[in-house]
Amino acid sequence: MPPKGNINAKKAKLYNSRTIRTQLSDPSFTEKEKLNIADFLRAREFEISSFERSQLNTKYASSTRVFQNLPRTMRRRTASHNVKRIPSRLRSRALREMQNSTNGVPPKKKRSRGRQIYELQVRRKLLKCSSLLKKVGGLPNDKVYGNSNIRSKIQELTKQIKELESSDKERKPLNNEVGSYDNTGINAYASRPRGNIKYYKRQKENVWLPTHIWHAKRFHLIKQHGYQIPQSPTQKCFKSMNRQNKKGAVIFDTSYYDTIIVEIKGEEEYKSLLLNITKYKKRLPDSFLNGTKTYNNWIYLGDETNKVGKAMIYSNLSINKILVRVYPSLFLSVFEYLKSKVQNYFSESNIYDCRYSLGSIDLCGPQAIPAISKVLHIVKDQNPASLKVWKFLASSNDSGIVPVGTTIAFEIWDPRLWKKPTRVPPPQMNTEFTINDLVVSLNEGNCDGINKTSIEHLLSSEGRTASYKDQLSIKAISKEFNKVSPLTNSIQHKEVAPSRIPVLVSKIGQNKWTIIVPWYWVLPIWISAVHVRQVLPGGLKQLHQFNFESLNPTFPHDFPFLADGWFANEALGKLNEAKYSKLKKSSVNTARPDFEDPDLFSPFNCDWTAIRNFVFLRKLSKKSVEDLAKNEPTYVRHIEETVHRELNSLHDIKQQSKEISNIYTGTTPLPIPIALYNKNIEFHAAFVAGSYEIENLVAVANKQLPVIQIAIELVNKGTISDGARLYFAGTGAEPIPPKLDHFYTAGFATSGAYNLSEGHATAIGLIRADVKLQSNHNFLFIRNIGKTTFHLAKFHEI
């Protein structure tokens, strides 16, 4: 029987906590009386204090552990039994709590014996050998990373150590003690980085970012495109990220973006390559050529119609180098194309694969530059122009004044030499040059914030290796800090750590900045940057959220007309189909509008093939939509094993669309069913005018439906989810709700959700390009998958 005394005590405690004391009035005064000011104030004070006391009592009536007093973001799961996870100021209380309770103490660790102890010791010896090799200045060679057992690995390492100890300093592969080296591929692919020996096996298929371990403790990670990319923080952060994007800054590690450097010594060929891959057709802007602005737009491989995706291109004619930064899935096609071009040039030209030698950090939000300026300490004896520009940017809270593409380059000291983030001193009060002058000069493109030496160092392998020279380890830095008094914030950088880090800062989007640094300097900058109060780290999902909230499309989800977006769409469809097939038959409702016939019009993703088939088959049948709706379905004729179908009614068209893929028997793969509308392409122009022609069924399978990208906002209440079907609203004066038939679908919403910035549901989607023919107002109807209600929405083209 549990002891009853305890329960009564708890109940009494809970009951007592709920009573609120009142001030007792004098029993002699039984009537109402007017108080004087002093008494009135005293009475009110007593009431306030009794309310506050009752609130505290109820909070502490139920038993709480000390770590429950921490905010949600600082709690750790194992804090209840591992005292080291609690911040130091609460540690003594936690220890006392654990002593009193029996469950708080963790069980004693069993001591391993025999074979296990041998394995642990051998593993420890391997790590010791590899760190000794680093100290001596070498990198483990391929044999160490191969499939040998640990003993042979240790032998290999000791052999290498002996060799290096006897050689002189210039011939060593490493110029520092922490293992930082420059991993560039010259006219070939770069070799995969192998990382720490301890974690080598996990990086065999997916490369780890420099900040991987930091993210592993706090983020969910996803394996994509050969990297392990942080997807989202482990805590719920949808609203807090939205707030942070409006007022503070959000920081991302985007080292997974692949960079390629092309070096062309001849000026004509340099310019011709740029004209080839960018949107500029005849003349390149001067600011782009001399490196004060970056290009952040579509990249074309070959002709104008072959858009592959958006990229950042930085070019600097004075050092003859072009930097191309692309999303990792586009890397292969872009690299092969550039390589084929570069090999045919007369002048001396090279292509460098800098995937694993240049890393980057992205920042979003209005406080992006002020926050990062607290961490990047510029080397002062360089050109004062970039320092001036930087000071102005760091002092203003509005990043909208700076045009997209603005670039600044400078060199910084090691950020770990400063304990806490420190503010940049504001620009001097100078009446000759104010922030308005800066804005004007930035917009005109004649502001020079580029430091040439730093760009040279950043874009060349020797420069990057030179920046790693004598890079300090964390132990060395804390040794230096122990030498000085504990109150100092920084160490004398010039003597202790003379390494200068080349940095390129560029604005790549409306609210987005990117910082490009050498690979092994990303982690020191990151660790200092996340200590700034204004920044919160984010992942891929947050990038998608921010783009969505400002009604911008995100690569790859919102670009199904590009290869990446198409594959993402297909993968999503397969995933949803697998989930659906696992449901029990009793819980599946096939009476819903989209699930009656999944083969005809897939309810699992955006079925662009079906829309393309419907539109072109109707054109092939040479009948109007009203005629088709009126006619009865005809029977199918079989002629010599081919199925011949007359397209007389809507039913015929639908059944024919299911069989289109069987008709095509060629060897080249079919193109993606949709393409972004381009008025220079004949077929697209004819489509929008309504004068295009479709000859036969094979043409239906081969042609691409032109589409345009739109942003949609609901007019009244309602929700939009991914994959919602879009319908035109008719050609009359008022929008008319359409018939519930797949034939009338005009497009899909690729991303749809509640938009916290707008306050109602919005979506990004694609519809057929002949909008003007089908309806004369900018209204649409939206129907979510599986639902029957239509919501009215307005749209505008992006």
């Binding site: 009142t22 000011i37 306030i48």
Partner: protein, 175 residues
């Protein structure tokens, strides 16, 4: 199990002066005077028990048996202070408007005239307490200001403006 939701009503009893009372003339001389007159201490006859009885009686009178059955039974007093004449009532979520109107319609408790007004309604007692704390602080701040000269200055400014009006020309449209 679905949660049964409550509403906590913060109310207070105020005593505006009637024409035949002593404080009538001095009521509007200054802010502090007005506030002190309104927020007097309640007589000892008003206690939590008598308040509940009065509320139930009012509900019975105005809303009948149905009202008394739904709203009247779930009313309870969580806090009441005679010195400050403020209190917190708890009632069910569906009937809180009945209770508030009953409070408004009450004019007598145990033969003393009362005027009850509802200041704040909230789903948790913590928020009611917080609102009351904020309000008390605001009252204390108002009282500590010395505003006795405002009335005279307002009256004098009106008199000077009245003098300006003597030279106004007649409007011709009014004819």
């Amino acid at each position: 199990m679905v949660r049964l939701k409550q509403r906590y009503i913060l109310f207070d009893i105020i005593y505006p002066p009637t024409a035949d009372s002593v404080e009538f003339s001095s009521f509007s001389t200054s802010h502090s005077n007005a506030l002190l007159t309104l927020h007097q201490t309640s007589p000892a006859s008003i206690s939590p028990k008598t308040l509940i009885q009065a509320i139930r009686r009012t509900i019975q009178d105005n809303y009948g048996d149905f009202g008394a059955g739904t709203a009247g039974l779930s009313v309870s007093i969580k806090y009441f202070s005679n010195k400050t004449s403020t209190g917190i009532i708890r009632c069910g979520r569906s009937s809180f408007q009945t209770v508030i109107s009953a409070l408004t319609l009450m004019d007598k408790i145990e033969s003393s005239n009362v005027l009850i007004r509802c200041i704040h309604v909230s789903g948790t007692i913590k928020k009611c307490e917080e609102y009351s704390i904020k309000r008390s602080r605001e009252l204390m701040r108002l009282l500590s200001k010395d505003t006795s000269t405002i009335k005279d200055s307002l009256v004098s400014s009106l008199q000077t403006e009245a003098g300006d009006f003597e030279n106004v020309e007649r409007d011709e449209d009014i004819e």
